[in-house]
């Protein structure tokens, strides 16, 4: 077809839109609603996903972790006996290559305060390195981050509330009288405490468009609560913290069980001969023989140098591989600590049942006897930009080469390996949300198909005349595809404008889900603590615009092809 012919077809299609103005408008509106809704949902999911991924990297994992392969393969069980030592040399090599490194020993335990208890995951951290690599230490809402070499702990805001440690934001009247006011050592302190709180009045949040917990909150009846005055400054909070700490409110006891692997003193001979030794290879059997001696019914560990050498390591590794329970010692320990800060970060995982303690305060026998062992090394580029996800220079491969030769059994694993459950859940969310919008799309496209069907039916005679004039089937098909595409184009353009207009406040403010996050103890899947914000996804908006226009055009194919199957004479006779 010539350019003039194509212009004629497009011009005719454009004018045909005005023939059935009402139908055109309704159909275009349906497309616009679908496109706007898709852009809204897509941008929202994109924003939440982007924020979540950034927050996982910046607050939880860094760009990658170095762990023992045995730990990594069972990382969800936190197998503390698969920790490793000698991390300092690895850290030095990485730090000289422009990376930040933070060692951690992650363990779980039950934390008891004066009035409550809660299960927690505790990170024993190198304070300086942790602060340099991750962002959550900057979000200590009340108090401060623990000092190195101490038995201090910073805990998540939600677990602080559950344990009744830290400074309560919205205490009930009973809590206020029993736990706060009673901590005042004299009238002056009591008056000071009383002056910090006021009756709780739910109000619009500053950041959110709306707060779903407005009115009757998820956390109880508003009228029975007090809230910390917005005007309370840091100095007052510090003084209140000191008063409460002096009253013992900040003291906690951590009950934990650390698994330490080690060669058992004795192994029953029957067990060894029947279950263990048959699973060993010849080197492992030789190693076993050099560290154990058969005495009566047991194999007994030979003391002295034999338990420190390569044979001992090989025999221990073989026992662990065969899951021999005696090779892992469970050490129950009670550790007293003082809560010095409450974390309230943009990543709700860190605000939940999580605490951070200095690793050097737990190394000795009164702590966890870690003796320099860590479960993981977190790694991030020193030049990393928090607003971006890790780039190529922070890939597992790049970090592996920068780390030089890692000790056997250690490996580098990218951050995504630690966010698998989140990524899977988020992907599921996205598929289901998009599926819902897709059905809406389907409805609007069926609307276009219907409009085109009616339009083509009404113009059957005209189609006959155009064919008589010499228009080919492909030219006529094109004319109707262009007409439907124009409806889609108008609808898509309006939809993009409306979708983007909705996106502006959504990108700036988002929707405040902090109460839901709090009610679910931070475990909402997405790593966003307060406002779920959208993010601009230009590629998706353009693709939606083009996709909706093209799909609209395709909706004309079937009815047009149907009309073209009719003989010309039948078309001309059509009434």
């Amino acid at each position: 077809m010539t350019r003039a012919g194509f212009s004629l077809v497009v011009g005719m299609a454009a004018r045909n839109l005005s023939r059935h103005r009402a139908k055109t408008v309704i159909t275009a509106v349906a497309v616009a609603v679908s496109v706007a809704l898709y852009i809204f949902v897509d941008s929202w999911l994109y924003g939440m996903n982007l924020d979540s991924r950034r927050n996982i990297v910046s607050y939880e994992t860094g760009a990658a972790k170095i762990q023992s392969d045995a730990y990594f393969s069972r990382k969800d069980d936190l197998p503390t006996h698969e920790s490793f030592s000698g991390w300092e040399a690895i850290a030095a090599r990485l730090e000289s290559s422009g990376y930040r490194v933070a060692p951690r020993f992650t363990f779980t335990g039950t934390v008891y305060s004066n009035s409550a208890s809660a299960p927690m995951m505790i990170y024993a951290v190198d304070v300086g390195r942790e602060r340099a690599l991750l962002r959550y230490p900057d979000y200590v809402e009340y108090g401060r981050f623990p000092n190195p070499g101490t038995r201090e702990i910073a805990v998540g805001a939600m677990v602080a509330e559950r344990l009744r440690v830290g400074i309560p934001q919205r205490p009930t009247l009973d809590e206020f009288a029993g736990e706060l006011l009673s901590a005042g050592r004299d009238d002056g302190e009591k008056a000071f405490i009383r002056d910090l709180y006021e009756p709780y009045r739910p109000q619009k949040t500053r950041n959110g468009i709306f707060d779903p917990s407005e009115g009757a909150g998820l956390d109880g009846l508003a009228e029975n609560r007090l809230s910390l005055k917005a005007s309370v400054d840091k100095r007052d909070l510090g003084r209140l913290w000191d008063i409460l700490a002096a009253n013992g409110r900040m003291g906690v006891r951590i009950s934990t069980s650390i698994d330490i692997k080690g060669l058992p003193e004795r192994i029953p001979a029957g067990k060894a001969d029947d279950d263990i030794l048959p699973g060993f290879d010849y080197r492992e059997r030789a190693a076993f023989s050099s560290v154990y001696r058969l005495e009566g019914d047991d194999y007994r560990l030979i003391g002295g140098d034999a338990t420190d050498g390569t044979d001992a390591e090989l025999a221990l590794a073989a026992l662990i591989r065969l899951d021999y329970a005696g090779a892992v010692k469970h050490v129950n320990q009670l550790v007293d600590a003082v809560v010095v800060g409450v974390i309230n970060s943009p990543n709700p995982m860190l605000n939940g049942n999580v605490g951070a303690m200095p690793i050097d305060g737990l190394s000795d026998e009164a702590g966890l006897m870690l003796a320099g062992r860590v479960t993981e090394l977190l790694v991030r580029s020193a030049r990393a930009d928090d607003s971006r996800l890790p780039g190529k220079d922070e890939s597992a491969g790049a970090i592996t080469s920068a780390a030089g030769t890692l000790p056997a059994g250690l490996g580098v694993h990218g951050w995504a390996a630690y966010a698998e459950s989140y990524i899977t859940a988020a992907r599921g969310d996205q598929v289901s949300s998009r599926l819902m919008v897709f059905f809406l799309f389907l409805l609007s496209f069926l609307g276009i198909a219907n409009t085109m069907l009616m339009a083509i039916l009404e113009r059957t005679r005209e189609i006959g005349m155009l064919r008589a004039l010499g228009m080919t089937d492909s030219q006529l098909l094109l004319a109707y595809v262009v007409e439907a595409s124009l409806v889609g184009l108008i609808g898509s353009a309006v939809g993009v404008l409306v979708g983007c207009a909705i996106n502006v406040p959504m990108v700036k403010y988002g929707i405040d889900y902090s109460s839901m996050t709090k009610a679910l103890n931070g475990d909402i899947g997405y790593r966003v603590a307060t406002s779920f914000r959208s993010a601009w996804n230009a590629a998706s908006i353009v693709a939606t615009f083009i996709g909706a226009t093209v799909l609209s055009g395709l909706m004309a194919v079937a009815p047009a092809a149907r009309a073209l199957r009719l003989p010309v004479t039948e078309s001309l006779r059509f009434e």
Binding site: R461, L466, M471, T472, S474
Partner: protein, 232 residues
């Protein structure tokens, strides 16, 4: 006229049957006709005689059950849908009883439509269409839409559209049926004049006495067969 290679259209033993509610209707039962260049002919007959069917078959709008149709010496049975569309575009102009103009296009755009389909440039197409509108007495009305024109004016636009590409054949199916007698006469005068001036072959299907009077050759069909032929 005897069938020769100079014929604009020629049919041989043309048969067309329709299936209507399971019954076979024989619309044409072996029609042999040929029309040469510059003819002004009418195919007349009562309703159901097969005149419109004949016009559709020679206009390549339908395919015969048997027999052949040749247009400009080319056997249409050997042509596919696209080739037939091209043949219609280049060779044949149609004038319909119901005018069949495109309602969203102006008169000038309706007339220039076949030229644009033939690949003519927009300026030249416009100039030729304006001249054609002038020659059918619609000078100055090019910007009007069909609904802003009378029946006679719309039929003039339809004639202009059929003629503008200078086809060798114009097929007019009951072109005066929707017109009053005065307008019908004007239209026929116009077509006759164009026939004389351009040398275009006109074939009408009609049962209008006026058309029959104007036709220089009158073919009468009855029950799908040629009943009589008359040359004036």
């Amino acid at each position: 006229m005897a069938g020769t290679s100079e014929c604009v259209i020629e049919t041989k033993d043309l048969v067309k049957n329709y299936e209507l509610n399971g019954i076979t209707v024989e619309a044409l039962r072996g029609v042999d006709l040929a029309f040469g260049p510059g003819e002004f002919a009418a195919v007349a007959g009562p309703s159901g005689s097969g005149k419109s069917t004949f016009l559709h078959l020679v206009g390549c709008l339908d395919v015969p059950t048997s027999g052949t149709v040749s247009v400009g010496g080319r056997d249409t049975a050997l042509m596919g849908r696209s080739a037939l569309a091209l043949l219609r575009r280049q060779t044949i102009g149609f004038v319909f009883q119901a005018y069949n103009l495109i309602p969203v296009l102006s008169a000038i755009e309706n007339v220039s439509f076949p030229l644009v389909l033939l690949g003519e440039g927009p300026n030249e197409a416009r100039e030729r269409s304006l001249a054609m509108l002038e020659s059918v007495g619609l000078g100055g009305m090019g910007d009007r839409r069909p609904k802003e024109m009378s029946g006679g004016q719309q039929q003039r636009v339809a004639i202009a559209r059929a003629l503008v590409k200078r086809p060798s054949l114009i097929l007019a199916d009951e072109p005066t049926a929707n017109l009053d007698s005065k307008t019908a006469r004007e239209i026929l005068e116009l077509m006759l004049e164009l026939n004389r001036r351009e040398g275009t072959t006109f074939v009408f299907s009609t049962h209008d006495q006026l058309v029959m009077e104007y036709a220089r050759r009158l073919v009468r069909l009855r029950d799908g067969k040629v009943e009589s032929e008359e040359l004036k």
